[in-house]
């Protein structure tokens, strides 16, 4: 019993060192703006839905993607368009995006709503900071909210693409039949 408590406390302590540091934060569109843009201003009705475990398994099998949210955020318009707001997590990024699916199951559009880039505790450790001491050239500036429009490594959008695929299967297997 004591060992369990100690282990639990140790785990909590360990995870507290891994609080991600948000280095970049972009808000592109609100959900309402995205609804207007992707659904041509049509009126949308929120549809409460909870996926059953069979539905979850079917979507995972078809899309080869984990279903992490059993209560997707979905809206439907009178012409049969579905509007979904979903989240995906990459190694260093956290993205919220909106997908509009036409009644025939085709993609009407995808818009990224928010983008958060995070790095782990390593950037706070003294050893990491020590790399910068003694440099004669200007040390690199850590990205923060004021750093915009960055050039450099191409970040792959594979997580959103995978998410879209999962949502298309969710539509084909579940939403279409509602």
């Amino acid at each position: 019993m004591l060992r369990q408590t100690l282990l639990k406390r140790a785990a909590l302590l360990a995870t507290s060192f891994f609080v991600p540091c948000v280095v970049r934060c972009e808000d592109y569109m609100s959900i309402e703006q995205a609804q207007r843009t992707l659904c041509d201003g049509a009126a949308l009705r929120k549809i409460p839905i909870t996926l059953t475990s069979e539905q979850k398994k079917a979507i995972e099998r078809a899309s080869k993607e984990r279903v992490r949210n059993l209560e997707p955020n979905v809206w439907r318009s009178s012409d049969g368009t579905w509007f979904i707001v979903d989240e995906v997590i990459g190694k260093h990024e956290f993205i919220t995006y909106a997908l509009a699916i036409a009644s025939d199951g085709s993609v009407k559009g995808v818009e990224v709503l928010t983008y958060r880039e995070t790095y782990g505790h390593e950037i706070k450790l003294p050893k990491w900071r020590a790399q910068f001491s003694g440099k004669t050239t200007a040390a690199p500036v850590q990205i923060d909210q004021d750093i915009k429009n960055i050039s450099g490594a191409t970040l792959s959008c594979v997580h959103v693409t995978d998410g879209v695929r999962r949502l298309l299967h969710t539509h084909a297997l579940v939403l279409k039949n509602l």
Binding site: V23, E26, Y28, M29, Q33, T37, G90, K91, H92, Y97, G109, V110, E111, V112, Y115, E117, Y119, I123, K135, T137, A138, A139, P140, V141, Q142, I143, I147, K148, N149, I150, S151, G152, A153, T154, L155, S156, C157, V158, V160, T161, V164
Partner: protein
């Protein structure tokens, strides 16, 4: 001043469009942004190597059998690639895809992979706009199509006379209107940090980096940086940013700068009216031409 910023996943990366214009409503700017995104989608549909239904895939399958009529945009990109292939004496070659497929960087195609004897010199650009190959080839436009897409989007916004705009396709940028005082470029060793480059004298910039395959970071290689003649991949941990008049030039030139001999790429940059800034593995910034 009305400013909007939008982002869509396209061309395998995140494409951001920022538009500022005090004369128009936000709604109008959103419409413009959507039109610009449609241009980028068009480049993707035409030129994606990963899409077996793209025009490029069709050309790769049939180009050696008979000349094909292709979209003027696709032809423009191939023509620019051939031009730079000649100018770089073969260091830039869009026909290296078979090696990249073999190494697993690009997906296998349903058609047989051509052998590696073909080069960009086997591409025939007919006067009537059609394209054919002298032998089976596999073209990959990934080395410059992103820059081209950015140019097309920027051209559209300029046609509409927007005061200020920025298109950023995964690090390939084009400025419309006023240029910023400094440009942040990611450190190739620590992508969570940036170096600020100043004196932005050109409207387009592209950055390529040949990283070590470092599992700590998930950054994809910006391009599959492979020397077409030696067939050796780039290994050193350096990034180069090329500033040029158009993004398609900047995009292609980054690969030439990373792979070619200094005296060769230096004279090519001067001919193309472009400049470069390197960030070394140690975080030092080196300019060409050297800063005054």
């Amino acid at each position: 001043m009305a400013t909007i910023k939008r982002c869509q996943p396209l061309l395998g990366t995140y494409v951001e469009i920022t538009i500022s214009d005090e004369r128009h409503s936000q709604e109008f700017l959103h419409d413009l942004a959507q039109m610009a995104f449609k241009h980028i989608m068009r480049v993707q549909t035409l030129m994606s190597f990963h899409d077996p239904a793209s025009e490029l895939s069709r050309l790769n399958a049939c180009g050696h059998l008979h000349p094909l009529s292709i979209n003027p945009w696709t032809r423009e990109v191939i023509a620019e690639a051939v031009r730079l292939g000649i100018a770089s004496e073969g260091v830039f070659d869009i026909t290296v895809a078979p090696t990249l497929v073999q190494w697993g960087f690009l997906p296998k195609q349903s058609t047989k992979t051509p052998d590696k004897t073909g080069t960009f010199r086997d591409i025939v650009l007919h006067r009537d706009g059609r394209v054919s190959f002298r032998q089976p080839l596999m073209l990959d436009l990934g080395g410059l199509a992103k820059g081209y897409a950015v140019d097309k989007a920027a051209d559209l916004l300029m046609e509409y006379g927007v005061q200020q705009a920025l298109i950023n396709a995964g690090g390939d940028l084009r400025f419309v209107g006023e240029r910023p005082v400094s440009l942040p470029v990611r450190d190739p060793s620590q992508p969570q940090s940036v170096h600020l480059l100043t004196n932005i004298t050109a409207p387009a910039v592209a950055t390529s980096a040949a990283y070590f395959a470092n599992r700590r970071y998930h950054w994809r290689k910006v391009s599959h940086i492979l020397h077409p003649i030696t067939r050796k991949p780039m290994r050193s941990n350096v990034s180069v940013s090329v500033f040029a008049r158009t993004c398609v030039q900047a995009d292609a030139l980054t690969k030439i700068v990373l792979l070619d001999e200094p005296h060769s790429w230096q004279s090519l940059l001067i001919k193309e009216n472009a400049s470069a800034a390197f960030i070394t593995a140690k975080g030092e910034i080196v300019h060409f031409p050297a800063a005054a």
